[in-house]
Symmetry: none
């Protein structure tokens, strides 16, 4: 995996990196048990302070996406959904409305949006249906 930081972005470095890792996991480009680059290593390659990298890893661990083993390194975790159905539904809806709002203001039509979704959705790693949701 390669990550890239855009220093000219108004988005803080740690958020850029965090988002990229989250997306990579969601796309299956990073798989469970896989080892992440070490804090110092990523720090060197991205030319970013080690503390900033460590912060990203710490946050993603708290979210359950990564596991860190002291002395060994940081690893991609097995997915597990710990949230209530209600909360999960609310969050999906909120994200969806944000997306649709943006799409409207960009001037797209309903059909264009739906077809974008059905097309793009194939690039991600989904739970098999039935497992856990509303």
């Amino acid at each position: 995996m390669e990550f890239r930081i855009d220093p000219s972005s108004r988005l803080p470095i740690y958020r850029q990196l965090r988002n990229q890792i989250r997306e990579a996991v969601a796309r299956g480009k990073l798989e469970p048990l896989q080892r992440m680059p070490s804090v110092r290593e990523l720090s060197r390659t991205l030319v970013v302070n080690p503390n900033t990298i460590a912060r990203v890893y710490t946050e993603l661990e708290r979210e359950g996406l990564l596991n860190t083993r002291p002395g060994l390194g940081v690893f991609v975790a097995h997915p597990k959904a710990e949230l209530t159905e209600e909360v999960r539904g609310q969050r999906l809806e909120r994200q969806l409305d944000e997306f649709l709002t943006e799409a409207v203001h960009l001037g797209f039509s309903c059909e264009q949006v739906v077809s974008s979704v059905t097309e793009r959705v194939t690039q991600f790693r989904w739970q098999s249906d039935g497992s856990q949701a509303s």
Copy 2:
């Protein structure tokens, strides 16, 4: 239209309000030429610093969503998409990937996501197809 500030959100007040206005326009709850509440009025009803409200209006005017007519008030603008086809496509894609990433991590299945979209999409005000921007 009613707007609400959620103090428990980590999102700054001005962004919460800006997002709500953008969404209201996208949903057709605010229509072109409609008058917005004055800065002072909104400031009172939301119990928010007038400077903060003014900032929101200013930003939305820059985005082309609102028009300020000095002495008369602030009005919802007619939509106009000024971006190139390429930029619009990129932005939609980026927003979409963000949404899909979140959906994966929330543990939803592909089918659930697609059905949420097709259902929710009806609540927004879309361009009729073909006309899409320019």
Copy 3:
């Protein structure tokens, strides 16, 4: 509320403070909507680096115990349980076993432990029953 840091403790400063805040909330000594001391203020009174305080506040916000409003300060949040019943049950059990293990090694009897619990339990702020649990 008063917080105290024991520099001679092997527990990191940020964990000491975090635990104290969590316990204060659980005991009702800190109530929802109440304002927390500012980062800089706590930093001065505890003679601890502001970054360390900020870290505590950030983590507690992510846990849902605190809300931070940029420019205004940090506030105690309204409680909300977002986790699955299953996860909640597992965590309670794990904490309980840890406690009981310690109690055994300290040489207490079953009766002494149960009476300690029933007595001590009154000092905390509980959900009314029925609301949400196994």
Copy 4:
């Protein structure tokens, strides 16, 4: 006895193992005079560095839970509570408050907590009352 290391735990290996041994003793699954697996043996079965196992045994010997007899192996010690009544009480209280704090934040009710305790308490090996320690 079987011990298991959970890689997805943020707890260092040596602490996971130490806790498991302490809990096993408290539950009576490990009894006084019983022989523990050798350092090399445990190292192989858990796929853990021998130094790490040795460290655990050393620490538990210092705590008085284990006895090492050079050339013979490591054995579970006879329990002996050497602490003063005051210290024991303080420690129990501290552990208990920690447990109750967690329970509150998980959203349990008072009744649920008490019933969990009275139920779970039967799985541990308690001192008969009166004799409590010394």
